[in-house]
């Protein structure tokens, strides 16, 4: 039986590249593509793919929030997170969300097939930096209990994270309600709960929070030349 893979990235040119890369492998098929996290969650619930590959920086619902939803729906769901950065925070959030694989977009051509193979064998696949972080966290806990844990973000529900992304993308409460199939009043309640929990007084604070915490990603026109990572594809 073929290994069925769902691919989610907001750029079709990247999806084409990922498809070309993975379809060349005998016994693997792309069962669906999605252009944002919400579509990925819907299609995964419907099609039950063996492996889901999610870009982190997607509109409407980012890849980390989508990973969280997928693993909540099915704890055995095998998700590989594809990202342009392996910052500590993105790694931590991806692991917290239940991702079993973590691949840098710049290394996808080299690592993605290995990552899918690892998940196929019920193993995990992480970049060396993620492995180091996981090991350091494990050793730290062994020596110091939980005192060495990094500071946690305020406790937000999955729904609140979704609302933050939509508000930070510039949607009104009414538009948020429409996307999430809620009443406007419920969307406004989520919005005020978020502002209270985070101690914010303006949407500007919320946008800054969303950018800092990789809930949304912004392109920086000034960074034409990037010696470390390259473009956000």
């Amino acid at each position: 039986m073929k290994l069925r893979i769902l691919i989610a990235d907001d750029h079709e040119v990247v999806r084409r590249g990922l498809c070309a890369l993975l379809q060349a492998r005998e016994g693997w098929e792309i069962c669906a593509e999605a252009k944002d996290g919400r579509e990925a969650v819907e299609k995964a619930a419907q099609l039950k793919p063996d492996v889901v590959i999610l870009d982190v920086g997607m509109p409407n619902l980012n890849g980390l929030a989508a990973t969280r939803q997928l693993t909540q729906l099915d704890p055995h769901c095998k998700v590989i997170v594809l990202t342009i950065t392996d910052s500590d925070q993105v790694i931590r959030e991806a692991l917290d969300a239940g991702a079993r694989g973590f691949v840098l977009k710049s290394d996808a051509a080299r690592d993605l097939v290995s990552a899918v193979e690892a998940l196929q064998r019920n193993r995990m696949f992480f970049t060396p930096r993620v492995n180091d972080m996981v090991l350091a966290g494990f050793l730290d806990r062994g020596h110091h209990g939980s005192s060495g844990e990094p500071p946690r973000l305020p406790k937000l529900t999955s729904r609140e994270r979704e609302v933050i992304q939509l508000l930070a993308e510039g949607k009104s409460s009414k538009e948020v309600a429409c996307v999430l199939n809620l009443s406007t009043k419920t969307a406004e309640t989520h919005r005020s709960n978020i502002m209270r929990k985070l101690g914010f007084h303006s949407i500007r604070d919320l946008v800054v929070y969303a950018v800092k915490n990789n809930i949304i990603q912004v392109q920086m026109p000034s960074q034409l030349q990037n010696p470390t990572e390259g473009s956000a594809a």
Partner: protein
């Protein structure tokens, strides 16, 4: 006549995607790839492609700088910028640097073929998302 294309992007997976999108055309040939601006200038100089499909944000040398150098060294090669920057300001800079065409990466599947077709005939092709055009 075959249109010879050089594909330049720092992400191999994007180069794969561009190859897939462009590969369906019977009269186009991807002659090579480059992963940064320096490699792009070097390969354009040696291979004299008809069209260079060029990303902007790249290591070592940006696509804009590479565009200027390619225009100087290989004036017959046309340059099509394919970038994540959906911005009129960036498009202006690219055109000033000598690019003939400008396509936003998120619209590549819609615009790329028409853009290569146009620039290979030395015609301009410029496309931003509607909201960005509105903000000009």
């Amino acid at each position: 006549m075959t249109v010879r294309i050089l594909v330049v992007d720092d992400h191999p997976v994007v180069r794969h995607g561009l190859r897939t999108l462009l590969g369906g055309h019977p009269e186009w040939e991807i002659i090579d790839e480059a992963a940064d601006g320096v490699e792009a200038v070097d390969k354009a100089d040696r291979l004299k492609p008809d069209v260079v499909v060029l990303d902007i944000t790249m290591p070592k040398m940006s696509g804009l700088e590479a565009c200027r150098l390619i225009r100087k060294r290989v004036p017959a090669s046309e340059i099509l910028i394919v970038t994540q920057h959906d911005s009129p300001h960036m498009m202006r800079e690219a055109l000033e640097a000598g690019a003939r065409g400008y396509v936003v990466k998120s619209n590549a599947s819609r615009d790329l073929l028409a853009a290569v077709e146009a620039v290979s005939r030395h015609l301009p092709f410029r496309a931003l998302n509607e909201q960005s055009v509105d903000s000009v």
